[in-house]
């Protein structure tokens, strides 16, 4: 396990106070964890896997219903409730969370692209103004 010092840009104070430029913290994190987490945050991968897990969860719930409907004793129905019903419900929750995270990351990518474009336009306007005033 290694210790990595990372500079984190902080948001502007909502009260209009001074901007905290950066905060340097040292939190232990393994490079392996970093390598594992980063590819998993691909929006398309998150959305597709979320939909797959979601459909699988509903299929498990249907399976639990089908199996428990064939039993007449409650004590034989409860294991189906636990193995397929509850797990299916949990998988539906996981699927929704994965798809939500994927769409949010995709939206953030688009927002970042637009912000970068806006900053670029402002820079070009400034350069044009400087060249105009210099000639």
């Amino acid at each position: 396990m290694t210790t990595t010092a990372t500079t984190v840009a902080m948001a502007e104070e909502p009260t209009g106070g001074p901007v905290r430029e950066a905060r340097t913290t040292a939190v232990p994190v393994t490079p392996r964890a970093r390598r594992v987490v980063r590819p998993l945050l691909a929006p398309d991968l998150l959305i597709r896997s979320g939909v797959v897990v979601l459909v699988a969860g509903f299929a498990l719930i249907a399976l639990a219903w089908g199996q428990s409907a064939g039993e007449s004793q409650v004590y034989r129905q409860l294991p189906y409730l636990l193995s397929a019903g509850v797990v299916g419900l949990a998988m539906v929750m996981v699927g929704v969370a994965l798809a939500t995270a994927g769409t949010r990351i995709r939206d953030a990518d688009e927002q970042r692209r637009q912000m970068a474009e806006l900053a670029q336009v402002l820079t070009e306007v400034r350069v044009a103004l400087e060249e105009g005033s210099g000639s």
């Binding site: 902080m10 939190v27 232990p28 409860l78 949010r104 402002l122």
Partner: protein
Amino acid sequence: MTVRTQRMHPALITSLVILAAAVVVSFSIFWLSWRGAAREQDVARQVPFVISGGLGGLAIVGASLGLLLTQVRRWLDALAAADLRDVIASARALLDVVAGDEPGEAGHGPR
């Protein structure tokens, strides 16, 4: 320029890994509770497995996923705020040129 190429705070990675592990662990809890309940032939003895393993596991899944989404949202919000700060800095530099000041002369702090 995508979100994934940005530097991630180690605490963010740690929390994402821990919360994802909690989700995986809760599925192990489901398996344990199913195994325990399937062994019993008395409903009164199965219900505790349903409550502890089933509902408890579901609570862990729900709480972990909620926190995980919150962490992702906070991370994206921080990136958006950093982008916005860059745009504000560019606008200030532009304003300095329009006002006839040297870029950076008027300072870059909030006005």
